[in-house]
Structure formats: C-alpha cells, structure tokens
C-alpha cells in the first residue's frame, strides 16, 4: 500500500501498525522517500536510511512476537546535537568534523529502547546557538511554509531542522533541545507542537552541551498526544547526568483529555510588550477565550522581572558556553588546524572551527567570567535569575499554568535578522524566562497570520507538571483545530 507519512501522527501510525494496516518497514520506506524528496529544505545533516531499514525490520519482528514497545516502528529524526553511536554527530559545527561518537545519548537510547526507528540527524544552529537556523556550518534550513509571494523563510532555531522535518511531514516526531526557546520558537514558526520539559526531567548525558544549567531536551511532533508519547519514552532518571532528577515519570497520557474545567490560567501582563505584533496579541486573546470557554478561570498575574530575562540570559548562557566549548581544542576529536606550537594549534583550530555567532558567545562568556568583571556581570545575572524564578513561584501559588505567545513574530525571511545579534536575540523574549527558571514550557500551533504563516501559543507549567501542561495544551489544540499544512513545493 502507499503511505503518505505527512498524513500520519505517531498515535495513528501506532494504530496502523497494531492493526497490521502496514509494517514499520513500509512506513519507514515512505518516510525515507519523503525525506529524500525534501532535500531542498536542508533539514538533514546526515541521513541514515540503511540503519532505518534495519531498525524497522527488527521492529516488525518484535511486533510479530508481541513484544512491541511504546514507540515501536515509528520513524524519528534526531537533532544533530545528540550523540549517536557510530553515526556522525556535528552540532552543525565545522569543529566537530568527522566526529563519530562511541556512545549513545541517554535520551536517544531511551527512544530506541521504546522501539523507535532513526531516519538520521537533523540540521540546527551551530551548537544550538541561534533562533533562525542560519548559523549552521551546513547551511540554513528552509521553512516548509513560504511567504505570501513564495519567499523562503527561516524555520526558527535552534531546532530548525527538527521543526522543518515534522512540518514537511517526513518524520513523525523528532528530538529537539531548548536552552532559551530552541524547541518552542521553531515549533511555533513551523506550525507544530514542542515541549521543553522541566530542567532535570530528560537526561542531558550524551547531548553536546551549550549552557548546562539551561539545556533541556524534548520532543517535537504534530500533536500534543504525540509529544506526550515521545516524552514518556525520553524522560527518566539517569545516574550519568548529575542534574537528572530521581522522580518517577507519570503517565502523560492518563489525563490528557482531562480538560481545563476549574483550572486557573495566568496571563502575565508584562508579556504585553510595547509595539507587540497585533496578530500575535489577537491570537493570545483568542487563546484566553478558548480556555475560558472550556471552563478555565483566567487570572491576571505579575512577572515583574520579565524585562530582565533576556539580558540575564545573554550573560549566563555565553558564560556557560565559553566554559563548555573550551573542550574543542583539536587534540582529541574533530577538526585540527596545525600551528607552530600547541597554543597556535588551539587558536587556529578554534578560529577556523567555530562560526561567528559561536565565537561571539565564547568572547562574551570569556569576558563576563574574567577577573574583575565576574561579579558585575555573572553574579549579577545569577541574582536576577533568582528573582525571575521567584516571580514564577509566586504566580504559581495562584494559577495552574500560564498562557503567553511563543514568539513575538511569525517566520521571517532568510537574512532578515542577521545584521545585528541583539535583534535576533529578541525572538526568544517569551521563552527565555522559562529556561532561566527551569520550568516546563509547551508550544501549540494555534492559528495563521494574515500572510498564512503559523503562530504558536506557549503554556508554562510548574516544575515537573508536564502532565498538566499537556492536558491544557490538548484543550488549546482542540479549540484551535489547527489543520493547515504547508504545500509540498519542495517536491519537484
């Protein structure tokens, strides 16, 4: 039979597999064909079709024996920030040229344990630093959604390849990572769902580190239910990650259809920014109305330090990045550019191996951590971070979840925001505070703007309350009934 993966969700594909409507080998073959047809999007860095076929075959054998796991036979693609054993892992950086990990990240190992099939490795911003997927050494990813006049748009970032793969319909689900919005913002710009779990919920072991106190991995999918399914498989305690939290993983599907009756949803007035896009504002109002109609109580809340989240982030994240990226020295793996002595070899390797945005962040990080400036910048930012977290703690005494827009704009043309780094940083204004406070955040596609481009709404939850987020997200999803799809212009 002929399968169009773009019409499937993880849940519906699992049903099809269970009812023997198709095998994982057939489904995987259809995804491989769609992936190869989508090359103009540049969403993949490495395709692994042979590995996918092998895994699909093994999955069909398991299913035949009645041993199918939670995601058995489902083709997924992996952000190229997760180490995958024996498969090139680049972080979209020149400096990791030829790096083939000899180990598998815990998060992906959990997916394979659940029976999922790997299609390949997804493009991203270099070291996940960016909001448009334009900093990748492997070139920008193109959003499957195009502008009114056919202009090419960015998919958002840093998980831009991830979002594009799901929106284009060749992967049923993907992994992303989110340090300041890198799952939620591209999900919004590509019209898909993505969840950044609570810090500590998904193991960071084997994921290339950017800013260790902010990084968190999560799923990106077509539906809220699919995100719940994937998160179920990815989450869990891992002794190999010292910040992994030893808490049981609840059943994320159990109360997914529980609705929002009697729940209190907070609306932070500080998120209503000066000069806010009118369509974004209208969608936010619509989101409030949907939840109210479904029985929730809408509550005005204050998050007074919101304005300082981005500046604090642009101290903390580069500081941690400069420290994490010190390991790339040309000695043990990746690129080596020779020099007359050891120091020159380091400098040549790092000067050539890192792109511009990564170098900027290493420079800022090195500066704010240097003697004499540490307290003025780094300690100050960590104090502000404490205040931002307190804001949320106070708000969550009164509400069950918080509703905001995901991003301040829809997808924008390539090159539109690359002249000034700060202009690009502003794309994460609504998502960054969530990382600073370690909270879970979910983006749900909620509508199209006047140019026919998707917009997302963000839900922010209490620590480890992903189940609540998914449940409120499911209500939003039902109300929004977002069924629009990009036209497959990339198929010649």
């Amino acid at each position: 039979m002929s399968i169009d993966p773009a019409t499937l969700t993880i849940a519906s594909a699992l049903e099809g597999l269970a009812k023997k409507e198709f095998t994982s080998v057939e489904l995987t073959e259809a995804c491989i064909e769609a992936m190869q047809a989508a090359k103009p999007l540049n969403a993949m860095i490495t395709e692994t079709p042979d590995k996918a076929r092998e895994m699909a075959k093994a999955s069909d054998a398991r299913r035949a024996k009645g041993e199918a796991g939670l995601l058995d036979g489902i083709p997924l693609a992996i952000k190229d920030l997760f180490c995958t054993e024996g498969v090139l892992t680049t972080a979209a950086s020149h400096i990791l040229d030829g790096f083939h990990p000899t180990y598998e990240s815990t998060a992906t190992a959990n997916l394979w344990k659940a029976g999922a099939v790997m299609l390949g490795k997804l493009n991203l911003d270099e070291f996940a630093m960016g909001s448009s997927n334009e900093t990748s050494y492997y070139g920008p990813v193109i959003n499957p959604w195009r502008g009114k006049n056919g202009e090419k748009l960015v998919p958002g970032g840093s998980s831009g390849g991830s979002a594009a793969a799901v929106a284009a319909g060749f992967a049923l689900g993907v992994t992303g990572t989110d340090t300041g919005g890198s799952i939620r913002q591209p999900a919004a710009l590509c019209g898909i769902t993505g969840i950044k779990p609570t810090y500590g919920r998904v193991s960071r072991w084997g994921i290339v580190a950017f800013a260790s106190s902010l990084d968190q991995a999560g799923p990106m999918t077509r539906t809220v239910r699919d995100s719940a399914l994937m998160l179920q498989a990815m989450a869990g305690f891992d002794p190999k990650d010292s910040t992994s939290v030893d808490l049981p993983v609840p059943d994320y599907l159990a109360n997914l259809e529980g609705g929002v009756k009697g729940l209190r949803i907070g609306i932070p007035r500080e998120y209503r920014m000066d000069g806010m896009d009118r369509e974004i504002e209208a969608l936010w109002e619509q989101g409030k109305a949907w939840l109210k109609e479904a029985g929730a109580e809408i509550v005005d809340i204050h998050l007074p330090h919101t304005h300082y989240a981005l500046p604090a982030y642009y101290i903390v994240a580069p500081a941690e990045a400069s420290s994490n990226l010190a390991r790339y020295d040309g000695v043990r793996y990746g690129l080596r550019v020779p020099g007359k002595d050891l120091i020159e070899m380091y400098e040549n390797t790092r000067g050539e191996g890192f792109g511009r945005e990564v170098q900027r962040r290493i420079m800022i990080g090195t500066y704010v951590l240097s003697a004499g400036y540490y307290d003025a910048y780094y300690t100050k930012a960590q104090k502000v971070r404490t205040l931002i977290k307190k804001d949320f703690e106070q708000a969550f005494q009164r509400v069950d979840a918080i509703l905001t827009p995901t991003a301040p704009n829809a997808a924008f043309p390539l090159g539109a925001k690359t002249d000034d780094p700060v202009t690009m940083y502003l794309n994460d204004v609504f998502t960054v505070p969530v990382n600073l406070a370690g909270l879970p955040g979910l983006s749900v596609p909620a509508g199209l703007n006047g140019d026919g481009l998707p917009l997302g709404l963000q839900l922010i939850g209490k620590p480890f309350d992903e189940a609540m987020l998914l449940r409120v997200g499911r209500t939003l999803e039902k109300a929004a009934n977002f069924t629009a799809r990009p036209q497959a212009w990339w198929r010649q």
Partner: protein, 95 residues
C-alpha cells in the same frame, strides 16, 4: 562599559580564538552592542538576593568511590585527529 580593540584582542587570546585584524573590528562593535544590551541589569535591585546556583533545588548525589568504567583506549582514541599508539599527539610542548 565599552571594550576597545586591544581589550577584544586580549579576550580572543584568553579564549584561544585566532582573529584576523578585520574581524577584530567587527567583533569589537558586536560585543559592545551586546554589552550595552545586558547593561540594563544594573537597574535591578539585587540587594540581599542570593545568586542562583541550582535551578532545581537538589543536592548533588554521591556514589561509592569505585572504578566503574575504563580500559577503553580504542574507543577513547577513535576520533583522535592524530595519534601514536595509545597516545594523542600534539606539537612539541617541551624542548
């Protein structure tokens, strides 16, 4: 605070990043743009506020002080840009 070209060259040296002179000029203005953006933080009153050390309240776990891994020289060296036997090789450090 604003950085001049000499300061930026020094930071590049500390960060072990080779930077061509023309790149140094662009980097100087980009860094100053970012620093003026983060300068806003100085307006926040942080008196008696503790700097965050852990975003989730948790104690670092202890484990028994025993060897749990090792003896994988081949795996460790697999991605080495240059090696000799079980060693990474680098330009001469000691004369």
């Amino acid at each position: 605070m604003s950085l001049d070209r000499t300061a930026v060259a020094k930071i590049a040296k500390l960060a072990r990043l080779k930077m061509e002179p023309e790149r140094l000029d662009a980097m100087t203005s980009e860094l100053n743009r970012i620093l003026s953006f983060v300068e806003e933080l100085q307006a926040v009153n942080t008196e008696n506020v503790e700097p965050m050390t852990s975003v989730m309240p948790m104690k670092l776990r202890m484990r028994d002080d025993v060897v749990t891994d090792g003896g994988n020289a081949e795996a460790v060296l697999k991605n080495a840009p240059q090696r000799q036997g079980d060693f990474y090789t680098v330009p001469k450090v000691v004369e």
